[in-house]
Point group: C2
Chain length 168, copies 2
DNA sequence: TTGGAATGTCAACAAAGCTGACGTATTGTG
DNA sequence: CACAATACGTCAGCTTTGTTGACATTCCAA
């Protein structure tokens, strides 16, 4: 809508045409399906869904995290998260312990069984990611990350940045 | 799980470490939320959801497409798509016409009102995309697309490729 | 011409999001 | 201390969007 109105400065803005943007949008849609396909298959066997995967991922990522913290990372309501956490705790994949400093808080950890599932899920997802990275090469990967980061909401980017340097 | 076992060839495989892959996975998760946030707000006002957006997008993209074709692009069941299409048709955003050659088929088009909503949705989504592209630059965008394409399922990539060159 | 394949519709159910209300335990503050 | 705020859990009820199963219509080929 806007691009057609401005003169192109050399060829440097060709990547910003509506057509290029539309392709990017569709690429994002189709790629995200591939991105979730492998874990989805594993989850379906166990009777879980993507919501369980997300909880498991971020508990693994930040062991001992509180419910509230998880809530703000996932961007869902506590009722919604609670439904998922309850089943994971009942099934013995997640452990919830009362906080020592603040007893209102619950600290979340994966049990051995939970860690096993986490491993299976992230192995599957990483395998595809690795294949894509390898096919595209390091320079493309850097660009990939740059664009994704620029696409995030301001607040979301803070969560992302905060976790970025944890283990490097 | 696998990376630690192989010797790194110079520094060229550093981008394939589990840690790098994990960051890519989280970037994908967080970015996708941003990617859908703007259209979601518009849709919520009108009482629609993401499924309506996807239908509208691809009908706009391929006017006259059949239900079956749309089905294979979207990767959902016909019953699920049908519910969405029915409301869009009832609300006068989409027109369904019986096929002339094969009367079993329905050909789908956007009405003027449907095209207006499509415009609003894709403007919003493109605005964010454009900002991200502009911030990252043309080289990063090329890499972004490369990695996304490599991440798609084989069959999905065919859909993507088929639509790629339609208007260029 | 008739039976099977393809296309699309209706019904009922499940996962996972949401809002709103409320209970309980704990913490912090005036 | 009294009381407000915080953290968490839960119940009820609704919405979106996916699923399977059953069925009507249409086409095509034996």
């Amino acid at each position: 809508m806007a691009e057609g109105l401005q003169p192109q400065v050399g060829q440097s803005l060709l990547f910003l045409t509506d057509e290029q943007l539309r392709k990017g949008i569709e690429a994002m849609f189709f790629a995200y399906r591939g991105f979730t396909a492998d874990p989805d298959r594993i989850l379906a066997q166990k009777g879980y869904g993507r919501a369980h995967h997300r909880a498991i991922h971020f508990i693994h990522r930040s062991p001992g995290t509180t419910v509230n913290n998880l809530l703000s990372i996932l961007g869902v309501t506590k009722q919604s998260l609670n439904r998922v956490l309850r089943t994971l705790i009942e099934d013995g994949l997640v452990e919830s312990t009362v906080g020592t400093r603040d007893k209102r808080e619950r600290h979340l950890h994966l049990t051995a069984e939970g860690a096993t599932l986490e491993r299976a899920l992230s192995d599957a997802q990483r395998d595809r990611m690795r294949a894509a990275y390898r096919a595209a090469g390091p320079a493309a990967v850097a660009g990939f990350r740059q664009v994704l980061e620029a696409m995030m909401d301001e607040e979301t980017r803070h969560h992302y940045e905060a976790m970025k340097d944890k283990t490097e």
